[in-house]
Amino acid sequence: MRPARWLFTSVLALSFMFAAAQEGPDGKGLYDANCAVCHGATGQGSVGPALAGNSNLTDPDYHIRQILRGGNSMPSFAKSLSDDDIAAIATFERTSWGNDFDPITSEQVAAVRAGGSASSVKADDTTAAQVSAAEPVVVTADFAVEPARLEDGNGMTLYIFHNDSLSGTSRCAAPCTTHWTPLIAAGAITAGDGIDAADLGTIARGDGTSQVTYRGWPLYLSAADSAPGDTAGAGTSAMWDIATPGMAVIALSMTPTTVPAAAEGGGEAGAPATDNPPVTPIVYQGTYEPVTNERLLDPAPGDWLMYKRTYSLQAYSPLDQINVDNVADLVPVWSFGTGVSDGHEAPPIVNGGLMFATAPFSTLFALDVRTGDLVWQYKRELPSDVAPEVCCGMVNRGVALYGDKVYLATLDAHLLAFEATTGELVWDTTVEDYLLGYAMTLAPLAIDGKILVGASGGEYGIRGFVAAYDAETGDLLWKTHTIPGPGEPGNETWPGDTWKTGGASIWVTGSYDPDLNLTYWGTSNAAPWSGALRPGDNLYTASVVALDPDTGEIRSHYQYVPNDTWDYDEISDQTLVDIVRDGQPLKGLIHAARSGNFYLLDRTNLDFVYGTPYMEAEPMTITGFEADGRPIIPEEHRPDIGKSVDVCPALGGANNWFGLAYSPDTGYAYVPTSESCMRIEGGEADYMAGQTYMGANFSIYIPDDLDEAGALQAIDVATGEVVWKHRQQMPVRSPAMVTAGGLVFGGDIFDRELRAYDAKTGEIVWRFKTNSGVLGVPVSFELDGVQYIAVEAGHGAIAAGDVALAAATYGVPFNPVSGGAVWVFALKSAR
């Protein structure tokens, strides 16, 4: 960053002086009484977010509104505090602990309370730019100067802001408005000399006022001008220019066609969330049985109510209408085009006659299971600057159901609740600030009235967490960081402040054991990528952690990769299995690791039972295990700054996000597998909020001696032995699902197929070519006595790149077809 060191010191000093001069004792007193319990005595944050250095405070409207309305588990103070009180508290917060934001007056609070904006009130700075409400606004062309320019009725020069052309809305909000005053039309607008009235118009500003436009350009006055004819504003920024009578009509046809769901507009970057886009509710005629705890704990055989059907994440359906003998008669019933490109990874989740399928760009469809008709849909209006904060594809992995609601986690790190049958948005909670690199792609997990989520961001130096929200209200119940803070056990595995930006993000749904009352979550790589920059084990990165779902307390952990320096996220399924091993029953947890090892742990305390390689490329990074389960990693497998090593698998992993399926009938885990290696060298990285924080050089390859880079394989969990392995040239980068009918279903990115394998032998017994690469979680459910198979198809996301690499390696032409769809299949005879 810039020489913040010195500037910061001087700002600190200034702000303390400022606070002393401006602040009566009541601001601090009121803060201590009302706010400190959540935000900390020094604004450092605890239950509530930190206020020291909180960039949201830049916007006085947001700040005042937050105090007035509350939300996100913060109470509303609209009734209990007066405008004076709130102004005092807000001003104290804005000028303390190093904050240096403009103070707030009680007039401004009153304006926001009345539904207006703080920026419409200027307590002590009445400039010629002020436009009183009653006066008509005049826009005049002045041809006496060269070049001709636009002026207001007082002869003050008018300006335009080039950023406004991106959306046709005003991109100038606080603090921009302290330098540029929007030309507000309170009364009539008059076209002065040389102006065609048809060129004048207004747009609505975020605070509800109307701003005058000329040829579509919102007009502003500059605070730098003090007298008619001044043009001092022109020199202050390259993004501002004097408005001219001849300027071109603002071009608004700039819809980004490559981002189907990210519509233009959608409010100012970094501003608090604007109103949500309209949903189009259609009356759903069927009944909707609420999703209760009981149904989630013990689903009917025909239910598929969550990510991988059960809390165990087994992706196992006890239905057997479709089986090895009749699967040849499996045919499509309907397909639904999502109209969205990029990787479709979600399972279509079904309750009765309603299906909830998500698509990339945080898009959600409610479909009529019987017909495939759209009941309602929600397309998130993502901020245009969200894409840089998402590392690996604008994907979504599905919804959670609870009660009569549907829960969606979005790429801009919000958690949303919808009424299931109408699509009405019930609440919208900000989980994190997406501009810091937090993005949410996972399916939320509903446990006993709580909705559990985490966020990705391991490439952006975030500090990972699991958080639980009240399913009814969206209030935050607890939030547990997956990197311990100072004083917490494990913090000593991080040197200095590295724990603050160490990764351990959460981006695949966790599992849950109701008997042990523990929920298990896998964590991502450590950040930055080079382990040499943060010597130590770096708990709990590349680990599984067991949390008490009532409190969020971490009860136990196992670290798959200490001091990760290979980008080995171990986020995928931590699948719960109850098996008999060596004659003893075992409450097991299995995991097909990104590092290429298959693990069995004892889930009561996360003790290591075994780890065994399930890939073939060599040398594997992890060469074995100590007796206590700590992986053995030779020094020559560890890259460093200036030291490159060749290890397998490559950072994409032998398995990535898709995990495995487990059948209690066979006792086998079905593991999609791919082979790869990489040459990787450590690199330096500087942390900057919201920027990638990686710093390694790598190249990925498939070893020459491997003719096949992919497999779907069955591993006997009790022994760790591979029972069968269906090899194929292309990597298998799609999730699997297994049924009591003895079938394993899984997709293929390369040839666009959904396939069924014999669960006992691995023989392919059915295949169907869809519209696009299949990388979604297949599901099975029953309705009206018919068993269905459903899956999403839609090529994209970074994992699809592994297939492109294999195609290039083997010299196979690869013509991916883009386009997303939900597919539903059933037996011909059953319908």
């Binding site: 052309s165 981002v259 666009r752 070519k769 519209n771 492109a804 032409p813």
Partner: protein, 667 residues
């Protein structure tokens, strides 16, 4: 091909590409509306910083602005700008150039992927800057005094890395491009830094201008261990594939060398001495050679950009044109040279076309691959009074004879393809035919033309069943049922390239016996596509296919030369582009070689054009369509053990020479 791009580019590239594309598009809109280009001018469009003196700003005060003006003046061009985002980030310049927002970057380090660089016109060296009253004059990175000083340096550059191994991290202060070129200097002047390390341009421009006296000394050593070069040659950069523009700029840089150096002096750009280049001006172009401009959206980087944008087709066409230059260029009569340009969008295609004709003196244009490119090149060529030879677009609107008097097509048009398809259908003699078409105005129009073609080619009327489908349908089950129910034993597939692939993949499994007659959308004539189809639909893929050319056509000088030069067999579009150059040359042999002369000669319908297939004499029709054969092929089944050979996967079944359609009334 987006997946390939997404993966193989680094993650950070991937995460940025969408947003930058959007930002770039937005900025284009805000860029000032610059001078209108008329028929006799051309536009030199430069991507530049809005506020980054001494390099560039919106007012044009930077030395890169002045350099751009100088080059534009030398070349007789209208200079326009596309402004880069504020703050500019790492890949913005690359993306804007590749997306076609502009054609030139003025200051680019030599050898930086994926650009094509001109000769370098100065070297970017770095300098230590200290306050003159501060005592310490630092001249070497290895000066031990650096250990105790506060040092400012650009983040992530070679100097940053050279320093990280030498001085404590806490003494290093990193600056970003968005901080402004003078940020380090200001902090040195204000005493916040002891030493600044800055590029020569900023060192000279700001150090002497400021109120605080500064001492400036070149950084040594010039090469850090092991290979870290601390001096970068600076060039102008164009898109990969824009060879012609690179050559033009090289000529301008050489011609104005002393002016450029004087300008750098005026801005006090500190730099090591560089000797004047001697670019090979006009080497090897025979006197009076015919210059043929090629305008194609070929691939501009190691991976394709955001979407499938015809890059495969364009690259194949480009190879065909290059081969024509090689084989035909030095002919005794009408020697020619092919000038290659890269045009990702129709706007860029128009700029390239104007430049080719106005600045280079090209008298014919070849292109027409990619959405909207043929239509734009057709109107531009009319403005410029040169012939446009369409090698990629089958649209009927381009084949209006005198109504589009300067447009000629070597690529077969829709009507020619449908005539060949109807002829083949006729020979198959089905009982009934099902027509699968899009339920869109375009789809309806294509169906109408098919019905006309069928009526022309067949004496007896065939029962026809129509099956309308939606664009981009995931599943064609209902269409299959309609085909089955109709009892048709032939299906004409009027879908786009990708839709055909999805349809045929599912049709294979649906077990319907009816033979498929696919419309040969240009994308379906790529050999890569053949391979995928053969794997996806081994049975239905083996039914007749139609193409403007195939490697299975009897061995010719073209096929042999193509194979030996590129190590692969030619795609149809490569043959078409090769033939386009050849036909222009044949026209030039019998006429003046200016644009009007060529238009007249090409429009003659009574001249035989001998093609390089060794057997065909083709004639231009009144519709300005060259009536060359359309081939009927069959994909051979995959041979065991030879899974990935692209060679010999087709068999030639027949050939059909269309007669052309009637010329429609001018719009």
């Amino acid at each position: 091909m987006t997946s390939l791009a997404r993966f193989l580019l680094t993650r950070s590239w991937v995460r940025r590409n969408l947003c930058v594309a959007i930002a770039a598009i937005g900025l284009l809109a805000t860029a000032a509306v610059e001078a209108q280009t008329g028929p006799v001018t051309w536009e030199l469009r430069v991507c530049a910083d809005q506020d980054n003196l001494p390099y560039s700003n919106r007012a044009g005060d930077g030395f890169e602005n002045r350099l751009a003006r100088l080059v534009a003046e030398e070349l007789g061009a209208d200079l326009t700008y596309a402004w880069m985002p504020l703050p500019r980030q790492g890949t913005d310049a690359e993306l804007m150039l590749r997306l076609g927002e502009c054609d030139v970057l003025i200051g680019a380090a030599d050898g930086q992927e994926p650009f094509l660089n001109t000769i370098d016109y100065y070297s970017n060296a770095t300098y230590f800057v200290t306050r003159s009253d501060g005592g310490a004059t630092i001249e070497s990175l290895d000066d031990p005094r650096l250990l105790g000083l506060q040092i400012g340096v650009d983040r992530g550059g070679p100097l940053d890395f050279a320093l990280r191994s030498r001085v404590p991290q806490s003494n290093l202060h990193h600056y970003l491009a968005s901080d402004g070129a003078d940020a380090i200097l200001r902090d040195v002047a204000a005493g916040r830094l002891d030493v600044g390390i800055v590029r020569g341009a900023a060192a000279g421009y700001f150090a002497e201008a400021g109120a605080t006296p500064m001492t400036v000394a070149p950084v040594t050593p010039e090469i850090d261990i092991p290979f870290l070069a601390l001096i970068q040659p600076i060039t102008m950069a164009v898109r990969r594939g824009d060879d012609e523009l690179r050559d033009l700029l090289n000529r301008a840089i050489a011609a104005r060398w002393s002016d450029i150096q004087a300008l750098l002096d005026e801005y006090r750009v500190l730099r090591p001495a560089v000797t004047a280049p001697r670019p090979a001006l006009g080497t090897g172009v025979p006197d009076g050679a015919l210059l043929v401009g090629v305008v194609l959206p070929s691939q501009t980087g190691a991976r394709p950009l955001l979407t499938e944008n015809f890059e495969q087709l364009a690259d194949a066409a480009r190879r065909g044109a290059v081969l024509a230059d090689e084989l035909l260029g030095d002919a005794a009569t009408a020697p020619l040279r092919v000038l290659l340009t890269s045009a990702p969008t129709p706007d860029v295609a128009e700029r390239a076309a104007r430049r080719l004709v106005v600045a280079d003196g090209a008298s014919a244009l070849i292109g027409g691959v990619g959405d909207g490119q043929a239509a734009r090149l057709a109107t531009t060529a009319t403005d410029l009074m040169v012939p446009f030879i369409n090698v990629g677009d089958p649209a009927p609107e381009l084949r209006q004879g005198v109504c589009r008097s300067t447009t000629f097509s070597i690529a077969p048009g829709v009507d020619d393809y449908l005539a060949a398809l109807s002829d083949s259908l006729n020979r198959a003699d089905p009982h009934a035919v099902a027509i699968v078409h899009l339920d869109t105005p375009g789809g309806q129009a294509l169906r109408e033309r098919l019905l006309l073609a069928m009526a022309r080619s067949s004496a007896s009327a065939l029962p026809v069943h129509e099956v309308a489908v939606e664009p981009g349908q995931p599943y064609y089950g209902a269409a299959f049922e309609a085909v089955r129910a109709s009892g048709s034993d032939a299906v004409v597939l009027l879908l786009t390239t990708d839709e055909q692939l999805v349809f045929l993949g599912q049709y294979e499994a649906a077990g319907i016996g009816a033979t498929i007659f696919p419309f040969p959308d240009p994308g379906t004539q790529l050999r890569q596509y053949y391979w995928t189809l053969r794997a996806d639909a081994p049975t239905t893929g083996a039914t007749p296919r139609f193409a403007a050319w195939d490697a299975a056509v009897a061995s010719t000088s073209f096929s042999a030369a193509y194979r030996s030069r590129y190590g692969q067999q030619a795609d149809a579009v490569a043959w078409v582009a090769y033939t386009a150059v050849q036909v222009v040359q044949q026209a030039a042999e019998s006429s003046r070689t200016d644009g009007i002369g060529l238009v007249r000669a090409l429009a003659r319908t009574d001249v035989d054009h001998a093609l390089d297939d060794g057997m065909t004499n083709a004639r231009m029709g009144a519709d300005h369509q060259l009536h060359a054969p359309i081939y009927t092929l069959r994909l051979t089944p995959p041979a065991a053990g030879a899974r990935f050979q692209l060679a010999d996967i087709t068999e030639l079944v027949g050939a059909f020479t269309p007669f052309g359609s009637e010329v429609e009334v001018c719009d």
